[in-house]
Amino acid sequence: MGKVVFSSWQRFIKDNRGDSSGKQVEASELNLPDSLGQEKLKAVIGWDGLVIMDPEVDVVKATKAYFEKVQEESCGRCIPCRVGTGMIARRLERIDRGEGTEDDLEAVKKWGNLVKDTSLCELGQTAPVPLLDALEHYSEEFASKVEGEKGKSSDQDYNFRSIMTAPCLHGCPAHVNIPHYVGCVKDSCFEDSLATIREKTMLAGVLGRVCVHPCEENCRRNQLDEPVSIRNVKRFVYDFETEGKKEDIVETPKDGEKVAVVGAGPAGLNAAYQLALKGHRVTIYEALPVGGGMLAVGIPSYRLPREVLNQEIELIKKLGVEIKYNQRIGKDITLDELKQNYKAVFIGAGMHESANMGVDGEDKGYRGFIPGVKYLRDLSLGNELDIGEKIAVVGGGNVAMDCARSAIRLGVKEVNLLYRRSREQMPAHEAEVMEAEEEGVRFHMLTNPTRIIEENGKVKAVECVRMELGEPDSSGRRRPVPVEGSEFELDVDTVIPAIGQVGEFEFVSETSGVKVSDRGRIEADPVTMETSAPGVFAGGDAVLGPSTVIEAVAAGYQAAKYMDQYLRGGKVTPDEEDLMEQIIDGLGAYDPQEIPEAPAGQKREKSELAEVQERIKGFDQVERGLSNSAALREAERCLRCYRLLLAVT
């Protein structure tokens, strides 16, 4: 581990220069890697200060390089950043050349403070932070340059690499350029906004409805009032640009290779979309008669209308992607055949089997015992449902909510939801839980099924036991333990377990070289998505376990990037962007301690919901989305928290 010579990161000064008496800080304490690829990391300069790891680094030069990048990235909207950082860059350049004066140092400092205090967005507001730190803590270096010293090094001695990020953007697994697409809405350019999202994924309309929005958990406005309703803004631009209009797309020229994708879920679709954009000829093999994976056969249509999904799949097809439905790998064609017939393969097969509850009778094939994912799949595909009048759904996650709320819409008289922990501990989104309750789902908290009771091969009741919360477990949540003697029977004719999903990876043959872990997941590199078999990549639920649409989308994006690299050069190594991302991963792009200096109290706009009475009549969309004026107000709330990081190697 490299030592840190100086750090002002997070406004906390650690100066290990000169005397060795102080505690030496290790790079790992800042979660910084030692190197960037093959090159040793000498310093990091960014929005939150500077970290010097190599005592020989020319700080003046590095600061100058940083400001030159800031100038390039400055959008030009506001005067202080557009002109001010340019003026600073010029003076720093002069100082670095050894031709600067005391006046220049004064000017740079004065402008630095001005730019910091008066710029429109975070880029300008944070750019001077490391400069002012350097001027203070490395004043001798500046002074000696002003006195004419040429400096011990030249620009050629260093590699400067930079990356722009933002807390929300970094929090989004797919790194969708959120400040930009929200900014486009501010500027009334909804079309450009949609195009920005579509750089990363076609599924803007889908994500605008069902994304779990980790970006919002990383939004700086959290500290001010409430996060920007990023997902709803995304939905708005999709809705605005699509309603009543025929969105069209031109097929990209295909000068690339033949690539196969297994599964038309979000991971597979996005890999295919990105590969097609890069000019490859992609064929998706999908076991089901419909595309979308869990979007089509999991998430109920009251949350995601199928027209939205199908419109976006249609656009992907128009781009030149072929989708072969009803083609199950392992049955209709083998993975080895795919490997032979295509130059590269992506596996995005998801997880489509319900996990076992470990309850007596669940494996007996009783009528009325329907695994959650099967039930939702049959519902979506229009298959016959053998569902009764009084049902019990088991589980506390979003899938369980989807099962229960769908049952309400099917007219089931009594929908019970059994969950072994307390309501606060439910992993389902709070809004989902509330909406389910409003719609009439009966919650049984701290209740665990123990046995399925049957009569003539048909479910008659479920035996449950009451639970209480004991000691915290490894996840930090208090573990539920059964209360002895509290067993009771709940009369139901249908039991729907929805406690998790597992994959079905028999098609991953030994000969393919792809490894499946003991936990039943396909093994793949977290950055490049490559599996243990060269040319075979995998991502999404199949690799991560049941996760989210945006993670699947991100996996598809990453995989396509490295498949392209593989197809063009035969090698797979993380590129600069991903290496820089690792530095940001270490430092963190979002600091929940930091409170933005901006006016607080601007309320977050909420999407309107349909009336409960209307909702439960059928599968019409529950959320109405933001009105145009609300979407614009919401976009105005965004602080545009772009920030720049420079790595010196």
Partner: protein, 767 residues
């Protein structure tokens, strides 16, 4: 809701959602701004409007920060002042200040003003480095990117108002520019989709965007502003003529007016014709063959005598052989006098002055059913409605500022647009639903829509019950108009019909904008069917809902109000009605003919057949350029008097040409498509030896032996207010404060923007 806050120690109450800047302004507290524009969404780019807010450790921009309860704001601490100055000084480093000497914007430049007020040092170290693309070739706008301060207004106005998205921000620090096209591929304005509405020029605070035409014609401070009403279309936008030494230098949108406040290419740049060159400067008398276009110059005296003699000869024989035609661009006063002259002096009812035949029929149908001979609501309704249906109008092309309003509603209010048309139009792209109908099948479509509304239970029964009668007969009559049959008749698919009908019926508010195409065939029937549909949907009689007619020319409505059509007398009195005739006759103290007069097409036919021998043609009423077959009729006349600015193709057949004045030289009132009466001021004096129409009509009348005694246009307006009941309360004094919507029956009346159904029972018409 009101919010209370403190600004510079003063207690201020402001509307929730207002900005600090607005709250301060309302208290008379001045905060300097640069990128801010009152009619655009705030940008927050320039950072000049910084203020201090207690509890926030950084200054905030007042132009885009909403007020909050209990906020404490200081606008002018020494620190803030210094920051503003520093920022402006930085900006000045990138601005070629030495060019101020020759800049068109000098004297009216926001940058100059701020720099002066803050006492900024003008820097000599100009740091703009890269080569700035030179201005592109186009007929109207000079772009000088070097002067651009990147305030963002042009980008914004083009995306918010014109919605052409011509300008984008090319990012990159000091290399950042406002470019046309995309950052990767800058284009000329035209290639980037510019429609030359000129609104970017209107909002540019510096000399980076200026009008080509105005170059070197005058410095900003020399230009005298004169308020006017654009004469190009029926929207009637408020404009400002900028005049120097009796010459028109440029035209601006009138930002203070209560209209939309924007302008279009016709209004902004379409004033070439005013400037002369080709204009007739003195009366002309025909020399050679009719139609040859050979004329000799004459004095007014000679020309007037000549005309009077010619017209008198025919009149004395048979006034039915005389006809009068006027254009749709004349003021109310001119229209009024022209038909007064026609009926009272020439003794002929053969006249059509300034109306549009189809629109007139539609207006009369509106009067018949709803009691108002025009639109039931105002353009402001577009902002308050959920659904707009445009039928038979390419507004974006022909009435662009109204078209921009529709686009604004779509983008900012989520309004849905249904576009009914027979051909491709500019509106197609903006619409959510395009219904392409077979020509002449509007009526079937409207009936089909109403039938769908009734059959699907979408009828607004409470409304129908409360305000209408005759519904059951109508319901019966419409039964046959099933979606399938309507599809056969109109070509509109069943699903589209259903969607359009349900949008109209289910919206809280819906507005229909009916254009020229709608009144092209069966104007009366179409209008009555439209009224039926809107009544059935409960969409008439309040703001945000109703029917608006998009009339083709600027004063089509006013001309009709003045009785500019054969069977009508001023104020919708009828020639055939003895009492009405009597009333007007007494008011005028003139004998009025009672026989049935001919309208434009009738007059043309009669001229060709030799029945009509003399014609007094004011303006380009015949549009012979567009309808060359009408020249034949002109050729058959014995005596043709043309009052025009130019020798048009029709004017070549004239016996006498009297040089008229342009709208910039005319003073008077105009009535726009909303029934709004507006005052136009004369910016220029009549060109050379030409005279205003008002003067000429009076001169002629005198020469004919029936002098009219108006000393000014104002007196004509006064007479109109006595003769036309709907205009009873309209006077120049009142119009100075903005337009008034008729009916405005008496002095204290505020006008009637919205047709109100209070207590009325409207009868469904069977058509």
């Amino acid at each position: 809701m009101m919010v209370s806050l403190v600004i510079d120690g003063q207690q201020v109450y402001a509307e929730e959602g207002a900005t600090i800047y607005q709250a301060a302004k309302q208290m008379g507290i001045y905060i300097p701004t640069l990128c801010y524009h009152p009619r655009l969404r705030p940008l927050g780019y320039c950072r000049i409007c910084l203020v201090e807010v207690e509890g926030i450790n950084k200054p905030v921009t007042s132009c885009n920060t909403p007020v909050q309860e209990g906020m404490r704001v200081t606008t002018d601490t020494p620190a803030i002042k210094e920051q503003r100055e520093e920022i402006l000084s930085m900006l000045l480093q990138t601005h070629p200040s030495e060019e101020c000497l020759v800049c068109e914007k000098g004297g009216n430049c926001d940058l100059q003003e701020q720099a002066y007020q803050m006492g900024c040092q003008v820097s000599r170290s100009y740091v703009l480095t890269d080569e700035v693309a030179s201005a592109d070739e186009n007929p109207h706008i000079v772009r000088d990117p070097e002067k651009c301060i990147l305030c963002g207004r042009c980008i914004r106005v083009c995306s918010e108002v014109a919605q052409q998205f011509v300008f984008t921000l090319k990012e990159g620090g000091m290399e950042a520019r406002a470019v046309a096209g995309t950052p990767e591929k800058p284009q000329t304005l035209e290639d980037a989709g510019c429609v030359f509405c000129g609104n970017c020029v209107e909002v540019c605070p510096v000399g980076a965007l200026t009008e080509i035409e105005r170059a070197t014609l005058g410095r900003e401070w020399e230009l005298e502003p004169v308020k006017g009403i654009c004469n190009h279309c029926s929207v009637g936008c408020s404009i400002v003529f900028r005049v120097k030494d009796g010459k028109l230098v440029k035209i601006n949108a009138d930002a203070e007016e209560d209209t939309f406040g924007w302008i279009c290419s016709k209004g902004k740049f379409g004033y070439d014709y005013i400037k002369g060159e080709e204009r007739v400067t003195t009366p002309l008398i025909r020399q050679g063959e009719k139609g040859a276009g050979e004329f000799r110059e004459a004095s007014w005296e000679e020309a007037l005598d000549y005309v009077a003699k010619g017209l008198k000869e025919i009149r004395n024989e048979d006034p039915r052989a005389l006809a009068v035609l006027g254009s749709g661009r004349c003021s109310n006063e001119e229209n009024y006098l022209l038909q007064k002259f026609s009926r009272g002096v020439l003794g002929t009812n053969n006249l059509e002055t300034g109306v549009h035949f189809g629109m007139a029929q539609a207006a009369l149908a509106m009067e018949e059913s709803l009691g108002v001979a025009g639109s039931t609501t105002t353009l402001e309704s577009i902002r308050k409605t959920e659904t707009v249906m445009v039928i038979g109008s390419d507004m974006l092309k022909n009435q662009p500022v109204a078209g921009m309003r529709v686009k604004e509603a779509i983008r900012y209010n989520g309004t849905r647009l249904i576009n009914v048309s027979t051909q491709e139009t500019e509106m197609d792209k903006a619409a959510h639903l395009n219904l392409k109908v077979r020509s002449g099948s509007d009526l079937d479509l409207l009936k089909g829509m109403l039938n769908y509304v009734i059959q699907e239970g979408l009828l607004d029964s409470d409304y129908v019950e409360k305000y209408t009668e005759g519904f059951s007969e109508l319901k019966e009559e419409l039964k046959g108009y099933t979606p399938a049959r309507v599809k056969e008749l109109t070509g509109v698919g069943e699903e589209d019909l259903a969607r359009a009908a349900s949008w109209l019926a289910e919206s809280n508010n819906a507005v229909v904008l009916a254009g020229k195409g709608f009144v092209h065939q069966q104007p009366r029937e179409n209008t009555l069917a439209l009224v039926n549909l809107m009544l059935g949907c409960g969409q008439v009689g309040r703001e945000g809902a109703g029917i608006i007619f998009i009339q083709p020319r600027s004063n089509v409505q006013g001309a009709l109000d003045m009785g500019g059509i054969a069977p009508l007398l001023p104020g919708y009195r009828r020639v055939e009605d003895e009492g009405d005739r009597q009333e007007i006759s007494e008011k005028w103290n003139l004998e009025l003919p009672s026989w049935e007069g001919k309208e434009l097409e009738g007059i043309m036919d009669a001229a060709r057949e030799g029945e009509i021998k003399g014609l007094y043609l004011v303006g380009d009423a015949l549009e012979t350029g567009k309808y060359p077959e009408r020249e034949k009729a002109l050729a058959s006349l014995d005596f043709l008097v043309v009052q025009e600015l130019f020798i048009t193709s029709g004017a070549r057949y004239a016996d006498v040409i009297l040089p008229g004045a342009s709208f910039a030289e005319t003073e008077g009132t105009f009535t726009n498509l909303e029934r709004k009466v507006q005052k136009d001021y004369a910016a220029l004096t009549a060109y050379q030896n030409s005279r205003t129409d008002l003067e000429i009509i009076q001169d002629l009348s005198r020469a004919m032996g029936t002098p009219m005694k108006y000393t000014s246009a104002r007196e004509v307006t006064q007479e109109i207010s006595r003769v036309v009941p709907q205009y009873g309360g309209i006077s120049w004094e009142r119009l100075e404060g903005g337009g008034l919507f008729w009916p405005c029956p008496e002095e204290g009346h505020y006008g009637t923007p919205e047709l109100c159904l209070n207590g009325k029972k409207i009868r469904f018409s069977t058509v």
